[in-house]
Structures are given as C-alpha cells and as structure tokens.
C-alpha cells in the first residue's frame, strides 16, 4: 500500500502537457496557441464544434504531423517529446483510436489485435500464445467473443472494444478516443464509458473527444473547450460550476464575424414535399438510418439542415436522390403537389432534383478530365443532337459557367484535379446547374474551401433562390446555416428533431435541440 501511494505522489504532475501548439496549413491556421494538460488517471474531455481543431490537435499529439511541422512543445511524463511518426508515440503508451476504426474486417479478432506485433519467433506465429493473450485482453474490455471470430461478424460497438483491447496490448498509458460513441447505441455507449472509468481506477488516463455533452458530464474529470483552433476554457467538473449550458456557450460563443451576402427572400409556393421518408442501412438492412422524415421546401426558399456528423443528413439526401444510398426506402415525394417517382437517379433528375455531393473528389468530379467535360456530364443531351456532341455549344456552355461562377482556371480545358477546392466545387455546381433542376440539395457546399470562395458560393445560393429554385443546404457549420437559410431543420439520429425559422434560431438553440434528443 505504502509503495503504491508514493508512486502516485511522485506522478502527481500531469502525464501530458501540450504548450502553445500552433499548426498552420497553407492558407489556414488550424491551431493557435493551444494549451492542454492531462493528469494521470484522469478522463479529460475535449469538446468543440466540427472543424474546431480537435482532430488536428490529436494528430499533432500522436505524431501524424511530425515534430517540426508545428510550433509549441509536448511534455509527456515530464520529458519533452518530439514524435516523428505514429509509432514514436505508441511506443511510450500514447494510443489513439480514430473515428473510423482501423481494423481489417476479414481477419479474426486475434489477428487484428496482434497485427504488426505478431507473437512470432523467426516469422512463425505462435497462435496458442496469441489466443491466450487475446482472451485475457478481451476479458479486460468485457468481451466474451472467441478470438477466432472475424471482425466483420461483430457489431460496431464490439469492434470499438476490440480496438481498445488492441491498445491495452500495447501497454497504453494515455488512451485517446475520437468520437467513440458516434456509431454506438445507448447500451454500448454506456458500457464503453464504464470501461473508461475502470481504466481510470487502474491509472490509465483518457482523452475523450466527443459532441455528446451528457456523456462528458457523466465521466469526465475536466473539460477543455476548443473553438476556432484555440483553447477557450478548461473546466473542472468536480468544482460543480459546470453544466451543459456553460459548455455550449463556450463551444459556439463566437460573434458572427463571417459575413454573408445580403438577400431579400421571395418565397413562393411549396415546390418539394417529402413525407414519412424512411431508409435502412445498405449492408445492415435491419438498421434504420432515416426514421420517418417530413420535409417541405418552397420556391425561392433556402432551407438548412443542421446536425452533427453521423446524424443522417447525407444519407437522407442521397436516398432521396434516386436511391443513391440505402435499402428498404419508403415514403412519398411530391413536386408542386404532384407525386413523383425518384426511384433511380435519372428519374430523380427528371423530377427536377439535383444533389451536390459533400465529397466532390469521390462522387462529384471525374478528376482526370477537364472542366468542359465535367460541366456537361449530367446533361449531355443539352449539348448534343441524336447522340452526337455539338462541340460549339458544349464549349459555349462550359465558357458561360466558367465566367458566371468565376471558376479560376487557365481555360475550360484545365484538368479538374489541378483546381483548388473552391473552384472544384464551382465545377460541380456548374454541372448541376446545367442539368436545370428545380430543387438543389447542397451537401456541405463549403467544406474545405477558403473564406473568399465560401462567400462566392453563398452568392450563388442566393442567386439560385432569387431565380425561384428551392435550395436545401446541409452544413455542419452552424453560423453558415444561420447566415444563409430562411428556415432550419435540426436532424439527429435519423430524425428531424426540431424546425425553426432562421431568424429565431441560434447556435445554442440548435445544440440544445440535439442534446435533448439523444436516445429519445
């Protein structure tokens, strides 16, 4: 007993201190003078909006961004550390578990846990040892699965636990979990949080990155709030002055300094109406992803859909756009009051829908091709006669959109892979504008593009609404939604949990609506 106490007393200083961390990317300052310290045997929550810089901070800590690519110092167990690669931080017990799990689906639990650290001598694996040790590790995280079970055959919750077991195998001292419960149900989430408490009792410190403030309140000892790449507050939960309202205020408390082009809305009749829309997961057909969503949009109206990552916004939009996502889709769609068929992408386009993807590189552009071909791809009929493309009219169309949307490029023959994010986005927008839709669904239209280009995109959205089109904007940046929408739906866990006119909405109101709806 005495020996244990002395050890605890010796380690009374923080296990981790990050001081004055500043990280810049070309054109963007992702982190500015961030300070955070984690005590041994502490659960430390890091909260902040999407894009606040939480993940960047963790990448600095784990060595994804090597020493020298950032300013500031990292002290771990009292010594300054300069990680050059991820294994440098792993070797001394800092393990990060990412949102997207790094497991190989078609290998067994045991194989995954020992991947890269095989229990082998001279390259020959000792499977018995691997099995016994896997069993021990699984027991520690509360799993009773056979070590031979394939990862693909266990649920996401258990996969998360396998990841943690893998971390334990590496003698973890500081465990970092990035949104660990975002894809878990209530029961699995609680089990995971209990596990963290158990680790705490064993002296393992954890950093918990999460949006879910009720979880933070449940398990965290201290909370660091990051906003716009800066630490704005560190609160000690045990002093009792901490509540969700205070955290939310600290998370979103910026003034709306970004500007949005002014617009006078002219809202007409209802254009699109979606009733009771339900969608199931494409691989796990028993999991309902969208649960009875109702939506209306009027001509000339900009409607925002707010929500956290994983709320189901993209899934909703893509399922609506010709069943591009999901199975067992049910619900009715009306255009100007008449029922329409949106069961395939061409039919959805025929009905007047267009969906501008959040992932323009994977789903938006043919990157190896130039601007002209990308702009006309969704409406080749518009520049062709009897299947033969008319060069002159195609060049005309591409030139027009390049000018109208201000696509900065050497010519319409510039390959799109060489364009900046903002200009790529304008090419995707051009493609869908040329398809002549009545309703545009823009999914994260300003993700990863600079402030100037954002302003231009907002201008385009205003112009479209001015022309009498209906625009649905999905965005994780709440100030953006508040700045450009007329009306906002709040989505969480596959449902619309609130609806409010943008005039009456605020970031706090939206956040509260989300927090209130967890598990309901």
């Amino acid at each position: 007993m005495g020996a244990v106490r002395t050890a605890m007393q010796q380690a009374v200083g923080p296990i981790l201190e990050m001081k004055g961390i500043t990280k810049t990317f070309p054109g963007v300052k992702a982190l500015t003078d961030v300070n955070i310290s984690v005590m041994p045997a502490e659960i430390h929550a890091v909260v902040g909006e999407n894009g606040a810089g939480k993940s960047t901070l963790m990448k600095v800590l784990s060595g994804v961004y090597p020493h020298g690519s950032y300013d500031g110092t990292i002290l771990y167990e009292g010594k300054e550390r300069q990680f050059r690669k991820i294994s440098d931080s792993e070797d001394i017990g800092i393990i990060i578990i990412h949102q997207e799990l790094a497991l190989v689906p078609l290998l067994s639990i045991a194989e995954n846990i020992f991947l890269g650290h095989e229990t082998a001598r001279n390259g020959i694996i000792n499977w018995f040892e691997a099995f016994t040790r896997t069993r021990e590790l699984l027991k520690k995280v509360g799993l009773s699965e056979h070590p031979n079970t394939l990862i693909t055959n266990i649920g996401t919750g258990k996969q998360q636990l396998v990841e943690i077991a893998k971390a334990l195998n590496k003698k973890v001292k500081l465990l970092i979990l990035d949104e660990p419960t975002s894809s878990l149900n209530e029961k699995d989430s609680n089990a995971l949080l209990e596990l963290l408490k158990g680790f705490k009792a064993q002296g393992i410190a954890s950093i918990l990155i999460t949006h879910k403030l009720n979880e933070v309140m449940k398990v965290a000892d201290r909370i660091t709030v990051i906003r716009d790449g800066k630490t704005v507050d560190t609160m000690d939960v045990h002093t009792g002055e901490v509540n969700e309202d205070r955290i939310i205020k600290a998370m979103v408390g910026r003034d709306l300094s970004e500007r949005y082009p002014p617009r006078i809305p002219h809202i007409g009749d209802t254009l699109l109406e979606v009733k009771n829309w339900s969608v199931h997961h494409p691989q796990h057909a028993d999991r309902q992803v969208i649960k009875g969503v109702n939506l209306t949009v009027k001509a000339g109206e900009v409607v925002g859909i707010a929500g956290l990552m994983g709320a189901g916004r993209t899934e909703f939009a893509m399922s609506l756009f010709g069943k591009a996502y999901g199975t067992k889709i049910s619900g009715d769609v009306f255009m100007r009051g008449k029922p329409v068929d949106v069961s395939s992408i061409p039919k959805a386009m025929e009905a007047g829908l267009a969906y501008v993807t959040e992932d323009r590189k994977t789903y938006g552009l043919v990157l190896i091709d130039h601007i002209k071909h990308n702009v006309t791809l969704a409406n080749l009929k518009g520049v062709s006669e009897r299947g033969v493309v008319n060069d002159v009219s195609e060049i005309g169309v591409a030139t027009k959109y390049r000018k109208d949307l201000g696509i900065r490029s050497s010519s319409i023959y510039q390959t799109t892979v060489n364009l900046s994010g903002g200009n790529q986005q304008k090419v995707v927008l051009s493609k869908w504008l040329f398809s002549g839709p009545d309703v545009l669904i823009l999914d994260e239209p300003t993700r990863g593009i600079d402030v100037g280009a954002k302003f231009e995109i907002y201008g385009i959205i205003n112009q479209l609404a001015g022309e009498g089109k209906a625009v649905i904007v999905i965005s994780s940046e709440m100030p953006e939604l508040l700045g450009i929408s007329d009306r906002i739906y709040v989505m969480n866990e596959g449902k619309f949990v609130a609806e409010m006119p943008a005039k009456e909405a605020s970031q706090e109101k939206i956040m509260r609506a989300i927090m209130k709806s967890w598990g309901t």
Partner: protein, 405 residues
C-alpha cells in the same frame, strides 16, 4: 515592349512538345521501328507486297483493339477476345462448309453466315457484359471463364480438325481487293483507284484538322504552335500519300484495309464526338461520380462488351477467310497482342484514358515488329521476349513521363 509580351504569351514549341510528349513519342517510336526494320530487312519492309501483308496480318488485331480500348477506358478488361474470335470462325465453318463430324449441314450463303456470326459474337459479348454489370463480377473473371468456354466449344465444333475451304465470296473478306474502277486512266501496274482514294482521304483528314484548329482559335484555345500544326499535318499527308502509292504499286486496296479504315474512323467518331463515348470515358474516370450524374453505367457496360463481342466475331471471320479454313488453334493468344496494343498506345490500366489513334499506332508497332522480325528470321521464342520488353518499356516511359510532369 509589345514584342516581349507577345513572345511571352505564345507557348514555345519545345514546351508544347514536352507537354504532349506521349503523343509524339508514340509516333516517333513507330517511325523509328519502321526505319530500323527497313534497314535490317534490307529494304523488304516497305515493298508493296510486304506492306500489303502487314495490313492483312494486322487487321484482326486492329479491329479487336478498337473495342478493347473502350473496355479498358471503362476500367475493365476482356481476356476472351482471342478464343471468341476463333470460336466464331468455327461457327462460320460449320455454317458454310460440309463438316463430316457435325450432325447438321446448313450450307449457308456467305452473307447470311456473316450476319449470324456477327450477331452471335455481339450477343455473347453482351452476355459477358451483363454478368459484369449486373452482378458486379470482375470482368477479368467473367472473361477468363469465357476464354476457357469458347476455346472448348471451338475445339468441340471442329472435332480438333481444320475445316475448309470456304466459298470464294467469303475468302474475299480478307484476300479480295477493291477493283480498280479508274484503271483506264493509268499506266498498267499502277492502281489509280488506290491513289485517288488515298488523296481524298488525305484531304479529308487535313480538312477536319483544319476545322478543329479554327474552332479552337475562335475560342482562343489553340495551344499547339502553328509551326507544329503545319509540320504535323505535312507529315500525316506525306505518310498517307506514300502509303497509297505503295498500295497502288501492288494490287491496290485490300478489302480488309477498307473495313479497317472505316472502323477506325467510326471509333474515332464514337470516342471523341458522341455522348456514348463521353459516358464511357466518364465512367472509367470516376464510376461513382458518373452514376451520381445520372449515367446508366450498367447499360454502358453491357454495350461496350457487346461491341467487343461483335468486333471479335468480325476479326474471327477475317482470320478464317485469310487462312481459308476454320482452325482449332485460331485466335490463341491474340488477346495478348490486342491488350498490349492498347497499353502501348497509351491506355491507362486505371481507366478513363486512351485514344483510338494511340491504339492503332500501338497495334502497328506490334505488327511491324512481328513482320520485321519474321523476315529477319528471328525465332518465335525471341520474338515473344522482344515484344514483352517493348510493352514494358512503353508503359515504363509512360509512367516515367507522367511522374516527371
């Protein structure tokens, strides 16, 4: 001052050549290979008789490479084309020739037999495409299975023996020549018709290049320096005129040459001007984006495999007609030459990239090498080694220049 500005705006010839090194390198390679064999074969290569031979030997490769380009651009591969062509040759055999080992005797005429064969090839191709598109089975596997099946069926149909001879009207597909309609105008021994057709085709090509150039200029997008444009077109004209002169000095224009030429022109049109061609390239460049842009990728996939099947059938007919018999070894290994021609011609394994001109040049690089090495008396063993090395070198240079730029 104005002088300097004007100079700065105009792209230099060298920088343009550097930016388009791939296209020029390919043409220069073909030219270099031709000159090389002209020397090593002591002038036999460019004789009218031998040039005609190269055309005949190469025609089925070129025909199939046209379809293979679409398949590769779409991001797939078709391994079955060699044996499918052989199998269709066997079908032609049993349809037209009396086969003692075949229960039924059809004795079909040349035209209906050709129609049945082309239809069969197209349907078989469509079926393979259906498996690829509908069930998402990799084309490599579907066509590997097809390769085995068609080979087996071919041998079974022919009972392992050669079947011939074909009617003369059928042999004319490969061995016939377009009659010299203008013979009265020319001295004996010169095929006037070939010369006139050569001149007309040359003028058509120059005219269409000129029109494209004008269109680019109208939109301020003419990037190729004018000297290069003139030089390139002069070379094209010289090559075509010289070629028609050589042809005119033998027996004129082989029927196969006309077929091949028409197909090349058709596929250039399909790939560069039609919405269908555009969709194939878009699908190969990014299938997800193409599908989300409303393209029916299943239909397109089935269509390209159907086209490939039809072209394989045609190649099989040309092959059978040339040998004047359906043979159980017909088409063996042809798929490798066809695929190699596409990759030498600059098609990308990852899809979305490739030109008909490149593939035709690629096919002729293979063809001239086959022919030249044959005349030099190099054994089939070393021919394979050299061809393999050339394929590797071509793709290596492609990747090398891409990484550099």
């Amino acid at each position: 001052m104005t002088d300097i500005a004007a100079k700065a705006e105009r792209p230099s010839i060298m920088s343009f050549v550097k930016a388009n090194i791939r296209d020029y390198a390919l043409l220069l390679s073909l030219a270099a290979i031709m000159v090389f064999f002209q020397f090593t074969t002591k002038g036999i290569l460019f004789t009218p008789l031998n040039m005609t031979n190269i055309i005949l030997q190469n025609s089925y490769i070129v025909i199939m490479a046209l379809g293979m380009l679409l398949i590769i651009v779409a991001g797939h591969i078709d391994l079955s084309v060699g044996f499918l062509s052989g199998f269709v040759g066997a079908i032609a055999g049993v349809l037209m020739v009396t086969n003692p080992f075949w229960p039924v005797e059809w004795k079909l005429g040349t035209v209906p037999a050709i129609a049945v064969c082309l239809l069969a090839g197209t349907l078989i191709g469509a079926l393979q495409g259906w498996f690829v598109a509908r069930f998402r089975i990799p084309a490599f596997i579907v066509t590997l299975a097809g390769m085995l099946i068609f080979r087996g069926l071919m041998i079974a149909m022919l009972s392992g023996r050669n079947l011939g001879p074909f009617p003369e009207s059928f042999q004319a597909i490969s061995n016939g020549y377009v009659p010299d309609l203008l013979a009265f105008m020319a001295p004996a021994g010169i095929n006037m018709f070939a010369l006139v057709v050569g001149a007309v085709v040359t003028l058509l090509i120059l005219w269409s290049n000129w029109k494209a150039r004008m269109l680019e200029q109208a939109h301020g997008m003419a990037e190729e320096p004018i000297e290069l444009f003139y030089g390139r077109n002069a070379l094209i004209a010289a090559a075509f005129l010289a070629f028609s002169w050589i042809m005119a000095n033998h027996r004129g224009l082989p029927n196969v040459l006309i077929t091949m030429f028409a197909l090349v022109a058709l596929f250039m049109f399909i790939t560069t001007r039609t919405t269908f061609g555009r969709r194939v390239y878009a699908m190969g460049g990014n299938e997800k984006a193409a599908r989300l842009s409303g393209l029916n990728t299943e239909k397109i996939t089935i269509a390209i495999f159907a086209i490939m099947g039809g072209l394989s059938a045609l190649a099989g007919l040309v092959y059978a007609a040339r040998l004047n018999s359906a043979q159980p070894k017909a088409g063996a290994g042809l798929e490798l030459d066809v695929i190699a021609a596409c990759f030498i011609g600059g098609a990308a394994v990852t899809g979305g990239v490739g030109k008909i001109t490149g593939v035709v040049i690629g096919a002729f690089i293979m063809g001239v090498m086959n022919n030249g090495m044959g005349i030099m008396g190099i054994g089939i063993d070393w021919q394979q080694v050299i061809k393999g090395a050339v394929l590797l070198l071509a793709v290596f240079l492609d990747v090398y220049f891409k990484n550099k730029s």
